[in-house]
């Protein structure tokens, strides 16, 4: 079942197009990652999904219902973890979660149980009676999450939930994302941290200048740029290497010598490793190591956008 479906979603601010014709579908049970540099349009997209911002054009369907026609339904099925921490400094952790959960109509013992459960989930049970002013950045982020999950939404949207926090809190948060997912929640996750997205997301969309420029599983994304491969060969004395002979081998595009390493870029669909090795043996150059470089998401991102994620 599709939890969320975006069709030609567009948002303008004056002449500036922040989100440009974004279309995608997210299935139940997915952890869907949004990757993009600063100002790519991630938060704007998310704000439209959560009903905070009207789209200039396009449709948003949550559980097959158009959200602007079913506002209450949509809002009660979404748990929003905003990029900017939104909690009340004057209320205790417990009161914060209780207040937000109450807005979704929970009352009485059910409310109490859900609040305790949410605090437990983010590991703040022992600090429930404390005020967030005394919390670390990571604890505030965790409280921010607890406020969004107590009403057990179908779709949880996390906008950079791990910005600026210690590794311990980050692991805690990543684990809880996994746990929430195992409990049946569908999750949208945006981040600047490639390794996070690579670790937890089942599907990823790369968004740049408001447009989705690539979308798919990690493997599919990598496959986009794997029409070439890099072979790194460590040698003893590269002085006698004849680059033009090496380049003449079928499929080889580029050869660079970097100290003791000969870096060969080759077409991926030509099986030429044997002939390359043969060349080294024939030339009497001693091979010490052979590495085939697998492409990672960083290279994917770099290739597609011309920038690294944290430019």
């Amino acid at each position: 079942m599709k939890v969320l479906e975006l069709k030609n979603l567009t948002r303008r601010f004056g002449d500036f197009v922040a989100v440009d014709n974004v279309s995608l579908a997210i299935e139940e049970g997915e952890i869907f990652g949004f990757l993009g540099t600063n100002g790519a349009g991630k938060s704007t997209t998310i704000n439209m999904i959560s009903g905070l911002l009207r789209q200039s054009k396009g449709d948003i369907k949550l559980l097959d219902k158009e959200i602007n026609k079913n506002k209450k339904f949509a809002k009660s099925n979404i748990g929003m973890v905003p990029q900017d921490i939104a909690i009340y400094e004057d209320l205790t952790a417990h009161e914060n979660v209780q207040f937000f959960a109450g807005l979704y109509g929970l009352r009485g013992s059910e409310l109490k149980n859900r609040v305790d459960e949410a605090l437990q989930f983010v590991g703040l049970t022992s600090r429930a009676k404390d005020y967030p002013k005394n919390f670390s950045g990571g604890m505030k982020r965790r409280l921010n999450i607890a406020c969004a999950i107590a009403h057990r939404p179908k779709l949880i949207i996390m906008d950079e939930p791990t910005v600026g926090i210690d590794p311990q809190s980050r692991n805690y948060i990543l684990n809880s994302v996994h746990k929430l997912n195992e409990m049946g929640c569908t999750i949208i996750y945006t981040s600047h941290y490639m390794e996070e997205v690579e670790e937890i997301c089942s599907r990823i969309a790369i968004i740049d200048h408001g447009k989705i420029i690539a979308e798919g599983t990690k493997e599919q994304l990598k496959a986009i740029i794997t029409d070439t491969k890099d072979i790194w060969i460590g040698v003893h004395s590269p002085e006698s290497l004849n680059i033009s002979t090496l380049k003449a081998i079928n499929g080889v595009n580029e050869v660079q010598v970097d100290e003791d390493v000969v870096k060969i870029n080759s077409r991926a669909d030509v099986n030429n490793l044997n002939r390359i090795i043969q060349y080294f043996i024939n030339s009497g150059i001693e091979i010490r190591s052979i590495d085939e470089q697998a492409p990672n998401l960083d290279t994917v991102f770099l290739t597609l956008t011309g920038r690294t994620l944290r430019d």
């Binding site: 905070l52 009660s76 905003p82 939104a86 009340y88 937000f100 109450g102």
Partner: protein, 381 residues
């Protein structure tokens, strides 16, 4: 509606968790009472000026006038029937007692009559004099019944009474005019503090926008209309509390006599509460941040309060400023209170009530218009 009440509950909780807010909302109005007490209460009580119009010169009238003059904090002066009215109107006299022809006879015959008390300041002024006077006259009248026509017996009784009653006569005058001024000024200060606390509470909207919780709230099933409604209701609760506290503390702790039924003061101040909320919402709608809100607040609250006579009576101001005051809601409220204190009935003050309601409505409309414009340009950063 359930979710609105949930919001109200939370707003009250946040408000009363902060000691500063508690002090601002509940402490300051009481400070207003104390300031008023210091302004009017410190110098002891003033005298009640009673004018006497005497059409019935006789021993009994002379003694009665002596009796009135002998009451503590009362002095009398003889006035002509023609000037009496003017002097009361100007305020040089608090009330006028007229002894008509036949007064002495009526007393001697046992049924006192042909005496009138007139005042424009209402029942509390005359009530004090009246109660003593009635008591006095009834005693004298009773002698004639006891004497049963014996002139000597009557004279004897009368003489004894005249000598003794000066000894037993006591009574501290409840100083009504001063009490009124204190009430008036206390309400003046209360209004200013109501404005401050209303803006402080509506400012929660601005603070929540800056603190991002406002947008977080809008991602829950709450919409902005419900949110503003909850803010208004919270504000109303707080101001009702303020009004009640001031009335209770003023009358029960400081024993200031308001001389207007409590409910009339309450309803009048409730009208002002609506004005304060409307104004504070307008301020919030125009202010883009908490700091600009503070600036607007400083520009509006204290100056208008001063110009309307919330700090000291407006009579001391020059004419031009008095004219400006007509455009300020506080002066209309003080005017209403004044008229109520003069003994006018609430129902007769519909013009004042209408003007006050119009102020409230105008502020609400301005706020609503500005809010809707803000939404159109969608400030979201």
């Amino acid at each position: 509606m359930k979710d609105v009440l949930w919001l109200v509950q939370n707003m009250l909780r946040i408000l009363f968790k902060s000691k500063k807010s508690v002090l601002l909302t509940l402490g300051l109005p009481i400070v207003g009472i104390i300031i008023s007490l210091l302004m009017y209460g410190g110098t002891g009580t003033t005298n009640l000026h009673v004018g006497i119009v005497n059409h019935d010169s006789s021993r009994i009238t002379t003694d009665t006038i002596k009796f009135i003059n002998g009451l503590s904090h009362v002095d009398t002066k003889t006035v002509s029937p023609r000037t009496a009215k003017d002097e009361v109107a100007e305020g040089t006299l608090d009330c006028v007692i007229t002894f008509d022809k036949g007064f002495t006879k009526s007393v001697e015959s046992g049924i006192p009559d042909h005496i009138q008390i007139a005042s424009i300041k209402g029942a509390t002024v005359t009530g004090f004099v009246k109660s003593y006077l009635n008591n006095y006259l009834e005693n004298i009248a009773s002698f004639s019944k006891v004497a049963n026509g014996h002139i000597d017996t009557y004279n004897q009784l009368y003489k004894t009474y005249q000598q003794s009653h000066f000894k037993v006569k006591t009574g501290t005058l409840k100083d009504t005019s001063k009490n009124k001024e204190m009430t008036y000024q206390t309400i003046g200060y209360l209004m200013m503090f109501m404005l401050y606390s209303a803006i402080n509470l509506s400012g929660m909207i601005t603070r929540e926008k800056e603190g991002r919780t406002y947008f977080r709230l809008l991602s829950t099933p709450i919409n902005s209309r419900k949110y503003v409604l909850a803010n208004i209701l919270t504000n109303l609760c707080v101001m009702i509390l303020q009004i009640i506290i001031v009335i209770v503390v003023m009358t029960n702790v400081f024993h200031i006599h308001v001389s207007v039924p409590y409910w009339e003061i309450f309803v009048t101040l409730l009208l002002f509460a609506l004005i304060a909320i409307g104004l504070s919402l307008a301020v919030v709608a125009f202010a883009s941040s908490t700091s600009s809100m503070g600036a607007i607040e400083n520009l509006i609250v204290a100056p208008t309060s001063m110009l309307s006579g919330c700090f000291f009576p407006i009579d001391v101001m020059p004419e031009t400023i008095k004219k400006i005051a007509h455009f300020l809601p506080q002066s209309w409220l003080l005017d209403t209170i004044n008229k109520l204190q003069e003994g006018q009935h609430f129902t007769g003050l519909y013009l004042n009530v209408l003007i006050l309601l119009a102020f409230a409505l105008a502020f609400f409309l301005i706020a609503a218009y500005k809010f809707s414009r803000n939404n159109q340009v969608s400030t979201f950063l």
